[in-house]
Amino acid sequence: MEATTNGNGKTLKVRYFDIEENPETHYLNAEKGIKSWLFTVDHKRIGIMYLASIAFFFLIGGILALVLRTELLTPTENLMTAEQYNRVFTLHGAIMVFLFIIPSIPAALGNFLLPIMLGAKDVAFPRLNLASFWIYSIGALFTLASLAVNPIDTGWTFYTPYSVQTGSAVILMTFGVFIMGFSSILTGMNFIVTIHKLRAPGLTWGRMPLFLWAMYATSVIQVLATPVLAITLALLIMERTLGIGIFDPALGGDPVLYQHFFWFYSHPAVYIMIVPAFGVISELIGTFSRKTVFGYWAIAMSSLAIAFIGSLVWGHHMFVSGQSELSTVVFSFLTFFVGIPTGIKIFNWLATMHKGSIDMKTPMVYACMFLFLFTIGGVTGIMLGAISVNVHLHDTYYVVAHFHYVMMGGTVIAFLGGLHFWWPKMTGKMYNEFWGKIASAFIFVGFNLTFLPQFIMGSQGMPRRYYSYIEQFQTMHQLSTYGSYVLGVGFVIIAVYLAHSLVKGAQAPANPWGARSLDWMTSSPPDQHNFKYQPVVSNGAYDYHKPMADFTLGIAEDPAHHGHDDAVKVEAEKAEIR
């Protein structure tokens, strides 16, 4: 292929490029020393730093979960007092939500992959990207400080009036979350601008990998909803320090208003958590079914539909909080409505797998697990959206099981799938496939053993957040606790073989899965500037019927890839090329 047009009527000279295997220099060894990491503006290194941070907080949150489950082994005191129990479940929730799951896929995988998938050298604002990581770290320090001072016991939702009255370190904690919100906002802004402005020549919206559509929808929610959380928490802090009387009923304020404000962010926030997972699943199922993803536009647009409708359903958290009957009915209807785009995705993924040539590698195992677990989580969510059922199940273990099926069975499973899928790209090493599958079996069994009993307990009336329970529930609680141990073993196995692969793993090829999107058209690990050439895209991201060579096109003799010094010369040459 000698020339192609990039859509603006401009003609670009393109040629095929070879992808380097086992590169000597790549982003991991291009610069050395701790400073080259802490002050890097390279999106890949920032992604890796996020990955390490969230892994650390997942470990802490996970240990807290195991401690909670151990306490619940019997109705009496096993490890801690009731008061300590309140603190531990609050921290488990707050750490998992704000420090782990919200940044998990967008900030770790998204940062690493988004510019590469676009064929760009970096995100639009690399320094802002670094700032966003530092803001996240500072916010995390505040959160950890609150642990040291006086761990909070309000639940992760910080509901007033209790959060105004309790003696625990609510201000430190909420200020930490307030700060981390800005990290989320800046990442979202960065991604939207990058997707709009930095797509490679020929990479039209319809050729983008679906992961990018999911990241786009997620970023829209981050930019739309997170500022509202910021102002809510700022008002909560003011309520505690000055007694401004907006949320505190003792001063003439309204606690239901706090709940509206809080869920206006925090319900869309669950889509910040799950929509990136949808993106990962689209990549996994497309790649390992060796088929063009069925219903590309339906999947792409349903992400945006979820972002839009998902912003209008927050009231379903407040069916028994005293909001008006009319708004309860409207919110219930909208909650059913948001199930439609989600269902569209599930059916399109199944249709993609239909008659595909399915390769059950570990990432695909996780993708199938996702379809199973997330569907349970989603359908029970629709049940909770029904008003009469909700009144019965409100604040029971049924709700706990539901959101763990969505957040863990959905997001965490997809994250694990994505982590295995892109592990060779990120580290240049292959993980152990055998142990990968063993661990996934532990996770699947452990997860279901932990949370299926909670559905049953919840429907029988076991309230959430209770320190003790009547004897009737003991068998279920014990099953759940043993399940959580199995789950913990699964994660330990993953940690061990991934760490082992870093040291002794086989060298990864550039494209171990035979995928077609741009992230696989560069070496593993990628070059410091992602590509040695400026990629040009002439096919869709899932055109498996076309030869691989068609996906490695780049601008021939691209001056922009000669280095920084002759940038001025570059423009002159380019003007001639045009």
Partner: protein, 216 residues
């Protein structure tokens, strides 16, 4: 900006292909940021709307305590500063570095004047015991929730004032760089996007003024 890419490339960061791409990216980024600002203030506006709907008589009573003259003067001052800020961008586009600096300095002066007036307003309130929240001791308004109105007033104008301070800081930085000759018709992105920010600060005040001072 159509021809900028062929004039000056020294300011194009390595990951952009040309100056056009960099300029439009920065501008889109700023618009998105302004959108988050609208959502951020939006929370306070919603709180205002709800409390006003619940206590309409409180808002008409309490608003009489606010000094409309001070508010009106401040509105004029901020709108004037928006004009000079826009003129600074125009001066950058026409390569008039001297006027970029001058217009920015006038904008900074007007923004500072706004804060000075606001300071006198606040101290007059504080002296008679109109403070936010639990510290409220004023007895001139016969309403049990009088303190809530002033809590909202202080939160909204205080947050707005913080944005004015940040704007002044940004413009001081712009003046320093403009004096060093960093801005010209080929590259004036920071002036342009700071201008966008400043207009937003202005617009928020244009909403705050009637909502707080002009209720009748």
């Amino acid at each position: 900006m159509a021809n900028a890419s062929t004039i000056n490339n020294s300011r194009v960061q390595h990951h952009f292909r040309n100056a056009d791409q960099q300029f439009s990216s920065s501008k889109l980024g700023m618009w998105l940021f302004l959108f988050t600002e609208v959502m951020f203030f939006g929370g306070l506006f919603v709180a205002y709307i709800i409390y006003r709907a619940w206590n309409p008589e409180l808002f008409t009573m309490a608003a009489t305590e606010l000094d409309t003259l001070f508010g009106a003067v401040n509105t004029a001052v901020l709108i004037g500063s928006s004009l000079t800020c826009a003129l600074a961008i125009r001066a950058a586009q026409t390569d008039n570095t001297k006027m970029v600096v001058n217009y920015l300095l006038i904008t900074i002066a007007l923004a500072t004047l706004f804060l000075v007036i606001k300071y006198f307003e606040y101290t007059a309130k504080i002296e008679i015991g109109i403070l936010p929240g639990a510290m409220y001791t004023f007895e001139g308004i016969d309403h049990p929730k009088a303190s809530v109105f002033f809590s909202i007033y202080y939160m909204m104008t205080g947050l707005h004032g913080l944005h004015v301070v940040i704007g002044i800081g940004l413009m001081i930085w712009l003046v320093i760089r403009a004096k060093a000759g960093d801005y010209n018709s080929a590259y004036y992105t920071p002036v342009e996007i700071t201008g966008l920010y400043w207009h937003l600060v202005d617009i928020i005040w244009i909403f705050l003024f009637p909502l707080m001072y002009l209720i009748d």
